[in-house]
């Protein structure tokens, strides 16, 4: 067994809020005494923005990605050059999670063009004969729960008449009604509602819920708005029964969703598409913008 370096956090879920203390230990295991040139620990948090090739072209997108916005940055030297005894060494640490001045902590979010990521990094420097060792782990930041937001229910009714940009000739007659329990949703609560196929001329193949993120980046050329799919959940399989309310139920995936975020130079918003696929593979989509909050 060779030398190993690890960071262990006390909190298993690795989820922290602003002001929380990140407590843990650096664990070094080694079969023999190790000389080193210093052990450092850093906490980094940043928003990475990437331009969509749709707006600026591939090459530009590659080079012109906006500069990351640093949110948190700590650096501490845990130990100066010295020796680590053989066996298991645990060095505990604690750090209060605080943003840099004039910055706010955003929730952890992994998107296509926008990423908000927080990491803990531990470096073990060694002399030129040996490779330096490092260990990086991600931890997650969540907003402090806000006060309970009143739900905003929403009724909907889809029929050929309600459709936009479609050739009315090809559309079979149908009517789907339903409601969403709220368009303002808590991230950690499921998205709920129900729909009823009242009648449908053609047979249905599938009813799906598509969760979409809409990322908007501000840059020199203006705003770029890009909707991309996060996940697609089937709620109706085959020719579903008419007149029977089918539940709409979806759990927001972690990491890929965060509270809806609007800042000066980027926005993270979410939408849900209700997709009905007919047997002949024609599909109709109804779009519901939703606001995600954390309470």
């Amino acid at each position: 067994m060779s030398l190993s370096l690890d960071i262990q956090l006390k909190k298993v879920s690795k989820v922290y809020q602003e002001g929380d203390t990140i407590a843990g230990a650096i664990v070094i295991e080694s079969p023999n005494n190790v000389k080193h040139d210093g052990l450092t620990l850093s906490i980094e948090g940043a928003v990475n923005l990437r331009l969509s090739p749709k707006n600026v072209g591939y090459i530009e997108a590659f080079y012109n990605s906006a500069k990351p916005v640093q949110l948190v940055s700590y650096f501490v030297e845990v130990a100066g050059p010295g020796k680590i005894p053989s066996g298991k060494t645990e060095i505990p640490f604690e750090a209060v999670l605080k943003p840099l001045t004039n910055r706010t902590l955003y929730e952890t979010y992994h998107g296509v063009y926008i990423t908000v990521q927080y990491t803990l990094r531990c470096d073990l420097k060694r002399n030129f004969l040996n490779k330096d060792l490092f260990k990086e782990i991600e931890f997650f930041v969540e907003n402090k729960p806000k006060e309970y937001a009143p739900p905003k229910p929403m009724e909907f009714s889809i029929s050929p008449a309600s459709l936009q940009n479609a050739h009315k000739n090809y559309i079979p007659s149908f009517k789907i009604v339903g409601h969403l329990n709220s368009t303002v949703c808590s991230v950690n609560k499921p998205f709920t509602g129900q729909l009823t196929v009242e009648h449908c001329e053609s047979s249905i193949k599938s009813v799906e819920l598509q969760l979409v993120r809409v990322e908007t980046c501000g840059c020199a050329e203006g705003y770029a708005r890009d909707p991309t799919e996060i996940q697609n959940i089937q709620i109706g399989e085959g020719n579903v029964a008419t007149g029977l309310a089918i539940p709409i139920y979806m759990i927001f995936p972690r990491l890929f969703t965060s509270a809806t975020l609007c800042t000066t130079n980027f926005k993270i918003e979410f939408e849900v598409n209700l997709v009905v696929v007919f047997h002949d593979d024609h599909l109709i989509t109804e779009n519901f913008p939703i606001t995600l909050v954390r309470y």
Partner: protein
């Protein structure tokens, strides 16, 4: 026998003794207790469960049953009974436990409910296909799961994901059912392998792939079996996840590093954060499964693991899953999904009434899905008729219903019924309502169905065969009503039967008839049973016969036989024989007849006296009798004979003796092939004669006398027809003797003579050995005892005036002289017995008589000529014995000589007149012989001492002539002979 001229060298003179003088009574005393009583009480005491069991035995001063002592006061059988379990039920209980261990994921089953394991087997058996199946899978025959050294966990998982994307879907067509099942089994193994190698993502992928197969309804006939197989894998998966989480979450005990395992009933607070996090991850992971059906099933399978993160979460989750099922369009897939939810719910004991109710309501609400366009097209495409399609539902639907309505109140049942009715009355559903009705019939309490029988019948009769087969509904209806009788059973029966009679297909018809046979035979008189049988006969007349039909017919008859209250009148029904005639093949007919007779023989108190019934039985018996041929095995013959005999013995015409006899005559003619039956016929007729005797109190009128003669004639004629094989001769001999005795009893002297003579003439044919249990045994003991019996009968048989004195006895002696005895002593002993009988013959009054028959004592009145004749016969016999005695004078036969001499001396001392010189001389000589051969005597014989005792007693009794007392003399001599 030696010629008269030469004359015997020794003479036998019978002693005629005074009966009153010789008679002496044994010492006796009055008792207040039965000598065995104490032992009985003791046995009872030992059964009381006190600790005194052993004391009882040791304390007792009274007689203790030797068997009881050795067993410590309890017999082995009752000691078993003392155990709470008998060994068999203990084994059964153990097995139960084993089974529980195996199916430990189903603890929530209520007693009385059909367990899933049973249904599982049933589904696999019933739903099979010969069609080719297609499987879409990402695994190439299971070779994909390979061991990878986990470099880093994330990397490993990513690699796994990549693997599946490379060869995302792989289509295997043209699989037979067996291959298909093997593939599923392979997936099961892959799942386990993946799990063991810590490839959780792979495991989940495999599960999702499996579940995708459940969406596919091609080869629809196989779907239920597919469901069962895949749900098995799913169960395994759920269990694996649960176990894993359970092992991860060692209970946190403050102050200790190592936690201990969670207690059986744990709360989420006891689960460590890390395990909770893992559990949450699982649920996040499965929540993102794209397809509805796999997502639903996996969550259901993992439902148990909710207990790690949140208490009481399972109930609401189940309800949510239940609603999600509404999104499944295919009715079959939806029904089985609901069934799976019910199973999970019952295994977790979290099946709330709400859930169960909603499950059923949703099912009923979405019932129209069953016949939407897509399903119809699919069925047409697969060429599956609608009834067959509907038959795929009951396993799942019944299970669903069962969970809700089992032990439910009437109110709930009312609700369900009302809902179903609404649905059924919906014009669309009309044709297809059978499935719902079937589910209700199969799961509702039978008492409820009985109460609402007419309602249910209306529902059933409205169904058509286009949908769910109506005959199955009628059958199920019958099953319910068999368990609980409705109030207006007559009305229901007539209504139902109108429907049943319309069923065209004979197998379907019989299938229903079988169930209703029980109903009819339980609740109705023979009239209805008769018309039922008639209907069955009408229905099957001229139809092509087949094996299954026979099975049904047989079973129907069996049901009627077991349940009919009036067994007797069954056989006066005019449709029974035509019913039996439906069986064209002999073997089935025979087994059926046998069944009837066996059932009859179980009904112990049944007596047959009606001619019609007897004729029906005769018909049945004749079928059985005629089935016996040269090839029949012995056991079969015996079985049939016993059944037939049982029937014959049950026929009782009461006082109509002549009819009874004529029945026996008919029976004899009908059952000529079976010796045992002939034997029991003879016995019956003999009994008949005896009964006549009893009624007339021994004094026959001319009519009864001739009747009795007819009886005896019957026997006399019948006996020779019994074959002489095996025990035949012995049977014949015994029957002859019995008939002779009964003839004598009824003062038919000529007939008695004839019988006895016939018996004697049969003796030479007596086999020398019998084969009993495959071991050959000498037959002589049987013959000896037979002769003894014969001799004692002969004593009271008066001589025929046309024959010489004691003609029959002479015949007997001649016979036994000629018979080739194997044991040299046998003949001599029989001679001695003859001497006994002959010496009794000359007494003034015989020790026993037959009422109204004058024996030889009256007949000859102790005439000196008669006595002389008897003495002469005795002397001849004596000479025979002496000849044997002489022949024994060889060193190796001395023991026999000794024994015979002692026996003869005994007879002489007791029976012969010792005052006669010749007799006395012989006695003295015999004592001499005994003395000579004493060395060879076996040490344990008491013969000599018994003679001694007798002589002493005689000496004491006659003191007045003691000086010249021959008894004293012999006694002294004998004493000397033994002493020296």
């Amino acid at each position: 026998m030696s010629s008269k001229q030469s004359g015997p060298s020794y003479k036998w003179v019978c002693r005629i003794h005074d009966v009153y003088k010789d008679k002496h009574s044994l010492p006796s005393q009055t008792t207040s207790d039965h000598p065995l009583k104490s032992a009985i009480i003791e046995r009872k005491l030992s059964h009381t469960p006190s600790a005194k069991v052993t004391n009882n035995v040791s304390d007792s001063t009274t007689i203790v049953e030797p068997l009881g002592v050795s067993l410590d006061g309890s017999d082995p059988l009752s000691s078993f009974a003392k155990l709470t379990y008998d060994p068999l039920s203990k084994i059964a209980a153990d097995e139960c436990v084993d089974e529980l261990d195996e199916d430990s994921n189903e603890p929530g089953e209520v007693e009385g409910m059909e367990p899933w394991s049973v249904r599982r087997r049933e589904i696999l058996r019933r739903f099979t296909t010969s069609e080719k199946l297609t499987m879409v899978t990402f695994l190439l025959g299971g070779e994909k799961v390979t061991v990878k050294t986990p470099t880093s966990q994330i990397k490993n998982r990513l690699e796994q994901l990549d693997d599946f994307e490379e060869d995302s879907e792989y289509r295997e067509a043209d699989l037979t059912q067996k291959e298909y099942m093997a593939r599923i089994e392979l997936m099961h193994e892959d799942l386990l392998t993946a799990w063991q190698q810590d490839q959780k993502v792979t495991a989940l992928k495999i599960i999702i792939q499996c579940l995708k197969l459940l969406v596919d309804t091609s080869v629809i006939q196989f779907y239920p079996s597919k469901f069962v197989l895949i749900s098995d894998i799913l169960d395994t998966f759920g269990e694996l996840v649960y176990e894993r989480l359970h092992s991860k979450s060692k209970c946190i005990v403050p102050g200790r590093d190592f936690g201990k395992p969670l207690p059986p009933k744990f709360t989420p607070d006891m689960v460590p954060e890390s395990a909770k996090e893992t559990c949450r991850n699982w649920f996040y992971k499965i929540a993102s499964i794209r397809e509805l059906v796999p997502r639903l099933y996996v969550e259901a399978a993992l439902l148990k693991s909710y207990s790690f993160i949140k208490q009481n979460e399972q109930g609401p989750a189940l309800l949510r899953l239940c609603r999600m099922v509404r999104g499944i369009g295919d009715p079959l897939v939806a029904a089985y999904t609901r069934c799976y939810l019910c199973r999970v719910a019952s295994s977790l004991n979290c099946a709330s009434q709400n859930f169960l109710k909603e499950n059923i309501c949703d099912f009923i609400a979405s019932y129209n899905q069953l016949f939407n366009k897509i399903v119809r097209l699919d069925l047409a495409h697969q060429r599956v008729p609608v009834p067959e399609y509907l038959m795929l539902f009951p396993p799942a639907v019944d299970w669903m219903f069962q969970g809700y309505v089992f032990n439910a109140s009437d109110k709930i049942l009312d609700e369900v019924l009302a809902q179903c009715k609404v649905k059924i009355n919906n014009s669309l559903c009309f044709v297809y309502s059978g499935l719902l009705i079937n589910a209700m019939l199969a799961t509702f309490r039978s008492s409820y169905i009985a109460k609402h029988a007419l309602q249910f019948f209306e529902l059933i009769s409205a169904c058509s065969d286009e949908g769910f087969p109506q005959y199955l509904l009628l059958k199920q209806f019958g099953v319910c009503l068999n368990q609980c009788e409705p109030e207006n059973s007559a009305e229901i029966l007539s209504d139902v039967w109108l429907k049943v009679a319309q069923i065209k297909d004979s197998q379907n018809y019989l299938c229903v008839a079988e169930v209703w046979a029980e109903f009819i035979s339980k609740h109705f008189a023979s009239e209805e049973i008769n018309s039922f049988l008639g209907d069955v006969v009408d229905h099957l007349m001229g139809k092509k016969e087949c094996k299954e039909n026979y099975d049904y017919l047989q079973s129907i008859l069996k049901i009627i036989l077991t349940h009919a209250s009036d067994f007797y009148s069954l056989f006066s029904m005019n449709n029974l024989i035509p019913y039996l005639d439906l069986f064209k093949s002999d073997s089935t007919k025979v087994s059926l007849c046998k069944m009837i007779l066996v059932e009859f023989s179980h009904r112990k108190n049944l007596i047959l006296n009606d001619l019609v019934v007897i004729n029906s039985f005769m018909f049945i018996c004749r079928v059985l009798h005629d089935s016996v041929n040269a090839l029949s095995i012995e056991d079969e013959k015996r079985q049939i004979s016993n059944l037939l005999s049982c029937f014959i013995q049950r026929v009782d015409m009461g006082k109509k003796f002549e009819e009874q006899l004529s029945f026996y005559v008919n029976a004899r003619a009908a059952f000529t092939n079976l010796d045992l039956v002939q034997t029991s016929l003879v016995q019956c007729v003999i009994r008949l004669a005896c009964e006549t005797h009893l009624i007339m109190k021994g004094n026959h009128s001319s009519r009864t006398a001739s009747f009795v003669k007819a009886c005896i004639a019957y026997c006399f004629i019948t006996i020779p027809s019994i074959s002489l094989e095996a025990f035949g001769v012995l049977t014949q001999l015994k029957l002859y003797l019995l008939t002779g005795q009964v003839a004598l009893l009824n003062q038919c002297l000529g007939q008695a003579d004839a019988c006895l003579k016939a018996a004697l003439s049969l003796v030479p044919k007596f086999p020398t050995s019998f084969i009993i249990d495959n071991v050959s045994k000498s037959s002589e003991p049987f013959l000896i005892s037979y002769f003894c019996d014969f001799l004692s009968t002969l004593l009271v048989v008066p001589d025929n005036a046309e024959q010489e004195v004691l003609f029959l006895t002479r015949e007997l002696i001649k016979t036994l002289r000629k018979y080739p005895w194997e044991n040299e002593l046998s003949r001599s002993y029989l001679y001695l017995y003859a001497l006994d009988m002959l010496s009794t013959c000359v007494q003034v009054s015989y020790p026993y008589h037959v009422k109204n028959v004058d024996s030889n004592d009256v007949y000859y009145g102790s005439h000196s000529k008669f006595i002389k004749e008897v003495n002469w016969i005795c002397s001849v016999i004596l000479e025979e014995i002496l000849a044997v005695l002489k022949a024994f004078a060889q060193p190796d036969k001395l023991r026999l000589q000794h024994e015979l001499a002692a026996a003869l001396l005994h007879r002489m001392v007791v029976r012969a007149d010792l005052r006669d010189e010749s007799v006395l001389t012989l006695c003295v000589n015999l004592i001499g012989l005994i003395k000579k051969t004493r060395s060879a005597a076996s040490p344990n014989t008491y013969a000599i001492s018994r003679i001694q005792d007798y002589l002493k007693w005689k000496t004491r009794k006659l003191p007045e002539i003691s000086s010249e007392n021959v008894y004293h003399l012999l006694s002294v001599k004998l004493k000397e002979a033994i002493k020296s």
